[in-house]
Amino acid sequence: MHAQADTPPLLAAPTGGSLWRRKLLNQAMTALIVLAFVIALIPLFSLLYQVVSRGLPGLDWEFLTGTPRGIVGGGGAAHAIVGTVVITGVTTIISVPVGIMAAIYLTEYGGKSRLRRWLTFFVDVMTGIPSIVAGLFAFALFAIFLGPGIRLGLMGSVALSVLMTPIVIRSSEEVLKIVPNHLREASYALGTPKWRTIVKVVLPTAFAGLVTGVMIAVARIVGETAPLLVTTGIVDSINTNPFEGRMQNLAVYAYSEYRTPGVMKQASYDRAWAAALTLIAIVMILNVVARLVYRRYRTEIK
């Protein structure tokens, strides 16, 4: 790598006078950088502490099993937990096949074609689409065919797929890229067709990495709120059918408990924090398990 224009003027002597002053500056800047790092982590620890200490009181059996249906200012979040599972599950079912196939295209079939270059670029751009815009897209898509009052679990999943698929493509591409070529060539040499090579050699080799990538992508979308506010609506009873009726996930539940608290405000806020704690727990577990899966099951490539 030669950065011609950017080559720093190494031969221009370090400025700043005496050695003593330069050493002091070095110490000061090092201290400043360490301080900045500590400052950056304060919010993380404050947030984790607050979520745990404020979330635990509300996290009881009723929260996990009850619903607010027919109960004024009470009930649990079972409907939201079910909603989280259904919405996230359908999103995964949509995103993973499309994402992995697109990644296969990028690594195995793309070559130097224009489509490949465009796709690589725009997948990156798509990871920056605001989540609320993805929600509006899903709403517009369904509203054109089914009318503007429509709210479905499926709409939420479509919105979240717009956010999740680029993440799946990116991570899958990374792990498919590091499958060594000699494995593919050995397979071709045995007369195996290309597609069987991909299905039987490339994908199994990359399997742990693919699973890890999908889990991290799921963790990224499981706590989404904004796109669901405009697509799945708010509801107070359990709905397991993504093709009919409103649905709500834990994040939207936390938001609505905060936004429209019941008569006993504090109880509602407690439930919002309990939902936040549950969400953080889910996200953390997914992230940690994803890394463990990768460490434990990745194929050693020599």
């Binding site: 500056l25 404050s46 605001p130 597609w195 938001y255 936040a276």
Partner: protein, 314 residues
């Protein structure tokens, strides 16, 4: 290889046509998936456009607030830009420092753990940031806001009167800064750690201190990554919804006052607040504002990605 298999030679020739067929189906599927993604991006633009057309054609008195579409969206766009600017101004210096710390200063053994901690910041759902912002950071910030008003009230940003709840633009921007910090820092870290060793060792060999080495080799080498990372962070801050929706107390005005109770809303927060209760043309108006947000973030991200991919080619 067992002897019995050797005698019954595999019918290679027979597999020929089937092989072609399977390959064709599979490669077409892969291409289709790729085209779907590009089509999806075009579809987002197309469907938002179609659904916002009714609002574009409508007369002002039919739209929410009785204002024309431009007058409706302009203050929101201002609020969006203001919140995102605060976030970037706060986050970028911190993110660069965090990246430098992880790539050049922290002991090797703990780098993985530190990286994981910073990534955790990015993994926390925005709704949780919102709750934290309004219940924890906001109240904690009130004395600081009052102090800013007292000491720096002559600056337009801190004119006050200071909010008593902390639901201000400054606090919203601060939370956004925390949310985008890991993204900016990840982009910088990646490039900082790729600074050619010969440059770094050359600088040290010439007698530079570690900070001088960083200033003369790592920062110039990573300059474009700082820019592109900042753009990515900006894009994220522009589109971030829930944290702003929850924290900001909005009144639809245009002001640079960052510490008062009356703040401009942002496009995303306005959609999240109003959409669930809207119908008819109001929905189309909100979608039109969403289209504007989409266009702004798309341009931001395009520029950021163009810088990054040019860098990679180098």
């Amino acid at each position: 290889m067992e002897p019995s298999q050797a005698t019954g030679a595999p019918p290679l020739a027979a597999a020929g046509p089937q092989r072609r067929w399977g390959d064709r189906v599979f490669s077409n599927l892969a291409v289709a998936a790729g085209v779907t993604i590009l089509g999806l991006l075009a579809g987002v633009a197309l469907f938002l456009l179609v659904e916002s057309l009714p609002a574009v054609g409508a007369s002002p008195d039919q739209l929410p607030g009785g204002k024309s579409l431009v007058d409706y969206i302009a203050p929101l766009a201002f609020g969006t830009a203001l919140a995102a600017t605060i976030a970037v101004v706060i986050a970028v210096p911190l993110a660069v420092a965090v990246a430098l710390f992880i790539s050049h200063i922290a002991p090797r053994r703990i780098v993985l753990v530190l990286g994981f901690l910073v990534d955790l910041l990015a993994a926390i759902p925005s709704i949780v940031y919102g709750l934290w912002g309004i219940f924890v950071l906001g109240p904690a910030a009130v004395p600081v806001l009052e102090w800013l008003e007292r000491k720096f009230g002559f600056i337009i940003f801190f004119k006050g009167p200071a909010s008593a709840t902390g639901r201000t633009m400054l606090v919203a921007g601060l939370v956004l800064a925390v949310m985008i910090l890991p993204i900016v820092s990840a982009v910088c870290r990646e490039v900082f750690s790729q600074t050619p060793r010969k440059l770094q060792e050359g600088a040290l060999a010439l007698g530079a201190t570690r900070w001088e080495m960083i200033r003369m080799t790592v920062l110039p080498f990573g300059r474009s990554s700082i820019i592109s990372g900042s753009m990515l962070g900006l894009g994220r801050a522009l589109g971030e919804t829930m944290a702003v929706t929850i924290i900001l107390s909005v009144s639809g005005i245009v002001t640079f006052n960052l510490i008062s109770q009356a703040n401009p809303s942002t496009i995303a927060a306005n959609i999240a607040l109003d959409f669930p209760e809207s119908s008819g043309l109001a929905v189309n108006t909100l979608i039109a504002s969403g289209l504007v947000l989409f266009a702004i973030t798309l341009v931001t991200n395009l520029v950021a990605r163009a810088i990054i991919s040019r860098q990679n080619i180098q």
